[in-house]
């Protein structure tokens, strides 16, 4: 009995200490998430009480050509930006893992762009991509390219331009990869070297399996990040030209705060959540085959 009372008291004290966070989590996360699920079945403008309309919002999404467009754009962006970004980050991390003079300076330089606010980066890249005055096209002109792309104004180039720009923020992933690379036991490389493995084979058979948990983590974060891409295209292209860079979260935002269709926006948000969950589950399921944890 005494033991029970002691444990109950410990639980109460624990909950009391947790309560500030717990209250915030309940009020600002759990309740809004539950309400958004309810609103997704309603006509709700925020200014008027919600009006229940069953699955109508989801049915409308099914027939909405703009929704199909943003879905397609988001998938294409994800398929381009995620693998290319991961490859670039891993490649840069490997370079920064080598023992060269001034490596810490290079690491700082690579990480610095991640600290620049999204709006500032977008403004900078707007100028870089300017078709007449931008640094990119000026360089291409100097290299003899007669008609360089109108990056953000050309429906064929706007998406690749945003993908290119996404590399600007790989600093965070590079740091995580770097931590993983520095954790790879030296003796594994020594053993591979004794066995006559080339550098490429060492990367394939030692480095990649050893840092596979880190790759897995970056993959999950990348899936979430690319499906939620918002600030950069919102500032740089506004979704244009001709909705070629109009993404999922932008359409959600427009429905919620421009068209005042909170119910419809909630339905979009839930579809987005389900997509993230499904892709994360798929990645987790596939990880059994390619992610290797030390000590297992």
């Amino acid at each position: 009995m005494t033991k029970f009372r002691h444990e109950a008291w410990a639980l109460v004290r624990g909950l009391a200490f947790l309560s500030p966070w717990l209250t915030g989590f309940l009020v600002f996360t759990v309740v809004p998430v539950c309400l958004s699920l309810y609103y997704s079945f309603c006509d709700y403008s925020l200014l008027q009480p919600p009006l229940f309309k069953g699955l109508a919002n989801y049915r409308m999404l099914w027939h909405d050509p703009v929704f199909r467009k943003v879905l397609g754009n988001t998938v294409v962006y994800g398929l381009l930006a995620l693998p290319l970004g991961m490859l670039a980050a891993l490649g840069v991390a490997m370079l920064l893992n080598s023992k060269i003079r001034g490596v810490s300076i290079y690491r700082t330089i690579v990480f610095l762009p991640s600290l620049v606010p999204a709006v500032a980066s977008a403004m900078l890249w707007l100028w870089l991509f300017n078709s007449k005055l931008g640094l990119i096209n000026t360089t291409l002109n100097a290299l003899g390219v007669a008609n360089p792309p109108g990056w953000l104004s050309d429906v064929r180039w706007a998406m690749p331009a945003l993908v290119l720009m996404s590399f600007w923020g790989i600093g965070n992933s590079v740091v995580i990869y770097l931590a993983g690379l520095q954790d790879v036991p030296r003796e594994l490389y020594e053993a591979a070297e004794i066995d006559g493995a080339s550098s490429l084979r060492q990367v394939w058979h030692v480095t990649l399996p050893s840092i596979s948990p880190v790759i897995f983590f970056n993959l999950i974060m990348g899936i979430i990040g690319t499906l939620q891409v918002f600030a950069t295209p919102f500032i740089m292209t506004g979704g244009g030209p001709a909705r070629s860079t109009y993404f999922f979260t932008m359409y959600l935002y427009d429905n919620a705060f421009t068209y005042l269709k909170m119910g419809y926006a909630s339905a979009i948000a839930w579809i987005q959540l389900l997509m993230v969950l499904a892709l994360t589950a798929l990645a987790a399921w596939s990880s059994k085959r390619w992610v290797h944890y030390q000590g297992r």
């Binding site: 200014l47 009006l51 109108g150 030209p241 421009t258 005042l260």
Partner: protein
Amino acid sequence: MSSFSTKVSTAIKTLIVVVLSASALLLLAFGPRAGEELPKDCVIVDYWEKWAGTEEAGIRQIVDDFNQTIGREKRIYVRCLSTSGVIEKTLVATAAGAPPDVAGLYNQNIPQFAAMDALEPLDEMATAHGITADAYKKVFWDECHYDGRLYGLVSTAYDLGLYYNKDILRQRALPLRARGLDPGRAPRTIAELDAYAQAIDQVNASGGIDVAGYIPLEPGWYQNYTCIWFGGSWWDRKNKKFTFTDPGVVRAYSWIQSYSKRFGSQSETAFRSGLGTFDSPQNAFLAGKVAMEQQGTFFANFIEKQKPSMMGKWAAAPFPSFDPNLKDVTYCNCDVLVIPRGAKHKAEAFEFIAFVNRQDVMEKLANSHCKISPLAKVSEQFLDHHRNPYIRTFDSLAASPNAHPTEPIPILPEVNDEMNNFVQRLVMLQVTPEQGLQEMQDRLQQKYDDFMEEQRKRRNVRR
């Protein structure tokens, strides 16, 4: 040695703590204070406004004038907060039941907010203050209404005209005269505008545009209303139906597309994407890249600010119409002051709104924003001392029977987005005007009908 390094380390740490603590204390003692001390015996009216920079300064001057005169007399103090995203913030604050007393929105927000019962009707208060329709230019009075009720009053207003670079026209006098055109005046019909533009265009050997006489999408802010200069309209106010397939509308969009066809879609896009931003010396008109541009009254302010050397080298005229008999056509737009539903001090808020709509106050504000007065009566002093030398042209355009307001449609943001997307496809030659307009007609009419049906259901639920 070890003891020495420990001492140095401790000294450095102590120094850092002392410096940081001293900085914090100094900041507390002499740092920034709340900017405004509120009078204790006054009703505080919270006013959220979207403007920043020089426009905000103009608004603040009016607020100060109010606080020092009517406000002091009636014990009302207006606290002005310049805020970004004012529409979203007003929306959320209204939904939460804690809106500002006055919000400075755009006229196109009135139908959307009013249809959702988010604004206080102002008819009774306006009548009590002697504010009636005849005090305003009709177009602006109309823009403040939705469904027959008054939901806001104007703060600042503008209309559109054709700005043209007199220097460029003079430089291109020979090709202009060769086409029988007068380089000393603005074009008076759309056909003339096209002829002027073609005489001025300078295209380089590789097909790129160096200078354009005119481009419908530069800046392209008002292309949703291009049809009014073609005698068309995409909204039937009486029957509340979209009329995107109206011949005037089709003509307008065919005209917009004709420029993309003439220049080549790629060339036009490349030219436009290489132009600088609006509020910069690289602005297409200021940089001499585009000779004629459709712009609002306020544009003179930006010319003065960004390229003072251009003063006297430009002129403004009514934007030409397709039909020579259709004269003085313009599109009018305004910022409005509204009282959101649930505001705590409605009567006091309206005192401020009424003050802004007094002729002397309105003219002071209009001049500070380099805009026109929405009021029917305009003083000679205002016209004589305005910063836009063509203010008389803009003022008479807004008073013309062919002055066109923003369409009072509650789903206007969606309509605007659809139309912008359509125009982007149009200039990329991805769609014909007829196809695109028919698509919009079907989609937007459906959305409008759905919206009205939902509002009808809500009314039934309330009953």
